[in-house]
């Protein structure tokens, strides 16, 4: 199989380039893209990428495969297919490249930190857990599962344009995760922090985030909820 791999080593290369590498794929197994990268790295140890859990829960190996963002470890070759007879592997778009497939995620993390991604509760903690009904807890399903892989935010044109000011789908999903938590008491403060023309309202409902999320989450819906809360707040 022919792999077209994005290469860039800042100490050697003036500019990034695509390297075509022929690789032998063991028969009878539907490899994941991460397996292919591991095979490539065994041949050429200089290939750089992040990986950890290899089962789609740690969010390390978000990549762009044949033009679509996803996690290399749970994207099988049969699923991603070939693009012009090649498997094209590039870093996540829109973030500075450190080396090969490794991007600088600091802007992404900064947006996450901006939404105060932690539970705030100004009442003294009880001696046991804070009670929450199954119905209240159910509101967090589809939100807390985010793995911060950045597949969504780096597929979002609004984030490409304003990565410093638009929180982006991942950060907003987490913003709503805390807005929706019955144990959190900082709803007013959280909404006030988001109430500007950029943080939330740069979402244009393009829904690339939904189409690429490897965990099947729906940031656009969460953003819709935040919009409604902001609108209700202003009336």
């Amino acid at each position: 199989m022919l792999v077209s791999l994005y290469r860039y080593n800042p100490e050697v290369d003036k500019t990034p380039y695509m390297q075509d590498i022929e690789i032998e794929i063991p028969e009878g197994k539907d490899l994941m893209v991460l397996d292919v990268l591991e095979l490539l790295k065994a041949k050429d140890p200089s290939v750089a990428y992040r990986r950890s859990c290899r089962e789609g829960v740690c969010g390390s190996d978000g990549l762009n495969m044949n033009g679509k963002n996803g996690l290399a470890c749970i994207s099988s070759l049969s699923e991603v297919g070939l693009k012009g007879k090649k498997l094209v592997i590039r870093p996540l778009p829109g973030l500075p490249v450190i080396r090969d497939l490794v991007v600088d995620m600091s802007m992404f993390y900064k947006q996450y930190e901006k939404i105060k991604p932690f539970l705030i509760n100004d009442k003294p903690a009880p001696a046991i857990e804070r009670l929450q009904t199954p119905e209240e807890r159910e509101k967090l399903d589809g939100l807390y599962e985010c793995i911060l892989c950045a597949c969504c935010s780096t597929a979002c044109p609004s984030f490409w344009w304003n990565p410093d000011k638009f929180v982006g789908p991942s950060g907003l999903l987490q913003a709503y995760r805390f807005l929706a938590d019955s144990r959190d008491t900082a709803q007013a403060e959280r909404l006030a922090d988001l109430d500007d023309p950029f943080s939330v309202f740069r979402c244009r409902g393009i829904m690339n985030c939904v189409s690429v999320c490897p965990k099947g989450l729906n940031p656009t819906r969460a953003i819709g909820h935040i919009r409604n809360m902001l609108l209700q707040r202003s009336t």
Binding site: P45, S52, C53, G59, R137, L148
Partner: protein
Amino acid sequence: MSNLRTLNYDAIVIGGGGAGMRAALQLTESGVKTACITKVFPTRSHTVSAQGGITCAIASADPNDDWRWHMYDTVKGSDYIGDQDAIEYMCQVGPQAVYELDHMGLPFSRTEAGRIYQRPFGGQSKDFGKGGQAARTCAAADRTGHALLHALYQGNLKGGTTFLNEWYAVDLVKNKDGAVVGSIAICIETGETVYVRAKATVIATGGAGRIYQSTTNALINTGDGVGMALRAGFPVQDIEMWQFHPTGIAGAGVLVTEGCRGEGGYLINCDGERFMERYAPNAKDLAGRDVVARSMVLEILEGRGCGPKKDHVLLKLDHLGEETLMAKLPGICELSKTFAHVDPVKAPVPVVPTCHYMMGGIPTNIGGQALTIDADGKDTVIDGLYACGEAACVSVHGANRLGGNSLLDLVVFGRAAGLHIEKSLRDGFNVDDATEDDITNALARLTRLNNSTGGESVATVREDLQSCMQLYFGVFRDGESMKKGLKLLDEIGARVKNTNLEDKSSAFNTARIEALELDNLYEIAYATAIAAEERKESRGAHARNDFTERDDENWLKHSIYFPATKSVGKRDVNFSPKTVEAFPPKVRSY
């Protein structure tokens, strides 16, 4: 040679998983100048993969639940070489640690009463084994580790913890008195090597499941901290004790939680027989993990395995119904479809025992202080060094860990280490600075690698190491074959010292990191092999064909491996809990 930049902290925590982040949080909140050094962004740590839950007697599922029952189960599960004072501490303060997680925001699943949902797990009982199966594992669906790790990271963000993300700790720096005074570390992004100076160094680097070919562990689980401790000359305890989880997805190694069986799933052989009824008539599929794993291997060896090669058994879940599976085990359904191409709603999942957890590690006391043994055989504290979580052996798991106890171990002893450091710094604990020579010593390995001009590829040597461990030191062990394995390991050792780093570049050079990780894998594999050969009995996860019985007369002991002499000694197990009578060893049956 050291013109290294020095970073100064009061305490450093190496590892940003559950244990490391709990320790870092404790330290930061108490005002100790702390940095958490982690080779991956914290939420990429392996804690994220824990599924089933955190076991703790919070008396939600059963209002009469008692931490002493949990303690009894844990002692029995450990096959009686867990330290009873440590187990007592963990089970007793556990509820507080779990409530803290809820207050931090961990989205636990809930009961109708609004309390934390608890599910049954293996080895759990009520009333000291007399009251039937307990449900004691607190869960966030089947993503408890993910929920826990993110909540801890969020707690640390709130608390303002300093993280050195994507920094790799290379080796401990020891001063002239043998105290640990920090670590050499590489900033992976830039390649800069620095000396991180600290009065207290906490090793929280997790396990090393990657010494085996087939493992549920993340690719990052290379036991870096334990490797560093061994190279610094410090001993490890019970390192022969490796847990093989009954249900790794056959072929892929990916874990499916014991919670599957807790929720009513069971294992079947090629005849469709629920074979655990034969091996453990009472607890059946919820017997201890070692018991279930061995039973599975026996079924396979006796020709009752499934599939064309008869090399696995099946985990049946479809009878639970789609609704239960989607509510209680959504992540499992996802993993099974991805890695086994099986939808558990419709068909059973192919599973096989897979290396999962390192019960052994750096021996510590309850405060997380690392221990060594002096010439008179007495425990001695290693100044400046702490360990917690899977890297440590405190020891709460003994010869076999119960499901759900690892997450509890993380938060309880991460917190305990933080508390101990806080107090000891307040009491004026200090250490002498390292000299230039001390730092140069700690740089030796990195220097060797950076100057390598030829030698073998890291990937090849690593593969040979993993297959050697799989073949000779797996679920069943045998003296003769372990000797063969050891001989092979000696050869591999020579090759490990001669690996080549072809690419010497600085920026995000993961080849350099993988080469350094291989050294750690090897240190731990070798210690495992020596200790496994030495322990001439079967206990917990250590099952020998040539010594099939537990030998309490000679081996109701911790093994302790000394790297300088490559020899194994024995250390007493603690049978002196503070508030309850000790549980004396009994025949362990389920």
